[in-house]
Subunit: 329 residues, 2 copies
Amino acid sequence: MRVLIIGAAGMVGRKLLDKIALEPAILGSEVTALTLVDVIEPTAPAALASIATCKALDLSTSGAADELIADRPDMIYNLAAVVSGEAEADFDKGYRVNLDGGRALLDAIRAEGLKEPYRPRFIFASSVAVFGAPFPEKIGDEFFTTPLTSYGTQKAIIELLIADYSRRGIFDGISIRLPTICVRPGKPNAAASGFFSNIIREPLVGLEAVLPVDESVRHWFASPRAAVGFFTHAATLDLEQVGPRRSLMMPGLSVTVAEQIAALEKIAGPKAVALIRNEPDHVIKEIVDGWSRDFAPKRAIALGFTAESDFEEIIRIHIEDELDGKIGV
Amino acid sequence: MRVLIIGAAGMVGRKLLDKIALEPAILGSEVTALTLVDVIEPTAPAALASIATCKALDLSTSGAADELIADRPDMIYNLAAVVSGEAEADFDKGYRVNLDGGRALLDAIRAEGLKEPYRPRFIFASSVAVFGAPFPEKIGDEFFTTPLTSYGTQKAIIELLIADYSRRGIFDGISIRLPTICVRPGKPNAAASGFFSNIIREPLVGLEAVLPVDESVRHWFASPRAAVGFFTHAATLDLEQVGPRRSLMMPGLSVTVAEQIAALEKIAGPKAVALIRNEPDHVIKEIVDGWSRDFAPKRAIALGFTAESDFEEIIRIHIEDELDGKIGV
């Protein structure tokens, strides 16, 4: 199987590659060629280096999409995006990359299929940002998409195109709406959602973390390991049973910050919790108030997608996958 | 007020122009300049001829949108579209006109506003085609958009862009999701929905009409007069109270074919009804089975949009507006 991964240098892309390196047939059959693309040149895991081609490429530049599809990959992942804050700050860049670049890829597949029959599987990383407040307490599978950011608008548009192109048989596509990934590895970052991971990741290695919101804030999470599972499951799932509604909210776990902290205490003790410093930030509080808190993703669960069912499990996965099983507090 | 109407040669466009001719301030203040555009050159009503400029123009040709917006109209209607059947049969044309042409117009407004502050009102004719079966018995305002045609996909995408551009202050936009317009004036046409009008319009002038589906079929209607009312009301409505969710399903009337026929009998007698010939057509039946039957458009009603409340009224409007008050059977 020939696989193309766009956004291969990102966190989920790298973890997906590690998974393929460990289990070369996880996407349904053995991966024989791998094209890895990102705006900075991605790196292949050592075990895959012999079959990997790595490219630094911006999907929105003219001809880029056609170049990637000319190889006729069987399985295509688009995990790349200008992130939410940047797409909001830079209107042109967000629409150019997330909408025009994303659409160019779909049209390149169509153009290739007009030359000679071709119908790859297409897996798109979408987002809860397709939804906009006010929300019901639990968002169901049939709730409408009224994004409140340009990023969410761009994701919702690509979702619509994927459903229509799939219905027409141009490719067999699916849009995976990801929960907030937690615990995000790496350094604390400036994203408004960063604290959800910071307050777990930093104390586990003996470092302070700032909590800018009230402990009653509720949010929707899945681990990086669950996210990789969504993308591998999407590769082998019979999409006929998904039907024409090709955008699926993934399962996750709805917990409050207080519940996050209680789970941290159970696993790493009060010394870890003492490293969390309350520092209310009204700007972040207001952004977070506009986010969805809970979902009832019945369709994805029925289709076999799975995530964690308690927050301690999410913390343990971080300790296993990122800290070699050792707590440093 | 300077007004631009794209799709001015269509049925709703022409009726909207007739209304403006009768009530020159109906859009909020007196219309002082009128640009009328369609793929065939539109005609202005005599009373408006002195202020009207009529152009044959395809919005999807390069520079067309910029040319129209260079005049900085205060009020912009986009009523133009490649219709459902054609957008399905001709992938490229549907996407080029309905998506790229529609988007070029939005981007031309943005470009104009970057030169010098500019924030017109933008009113878009959308469609129930943004929804796709299976449906709940009544479709609520928060039901999701999962179109089953490329036409519906293109409408849903422009709706998303209108909401995002409005949120950003590029223009003040609203998407008007129209019910099936009935009684459609003119000749019977090949549209799958044509029979809903044919079985009323033809018998009223003593002509036969074919009914291709069962009388139990239920559908959602508004008169051409109601449609014009939606578009004039959208011109003066305070869009601040609409909030960020800028796509509104318009009010209408849910009736069965049997109820249509009963209303026809009340108004024009059994002789008219006898002109309806049952001729079941499985293709049309299957298409119609995929259509929405009933809505609960609470938001639009609360915002003051109105339509007919019984089908006899819809027939009487047709007799008044198209037949000079006279039944010909």
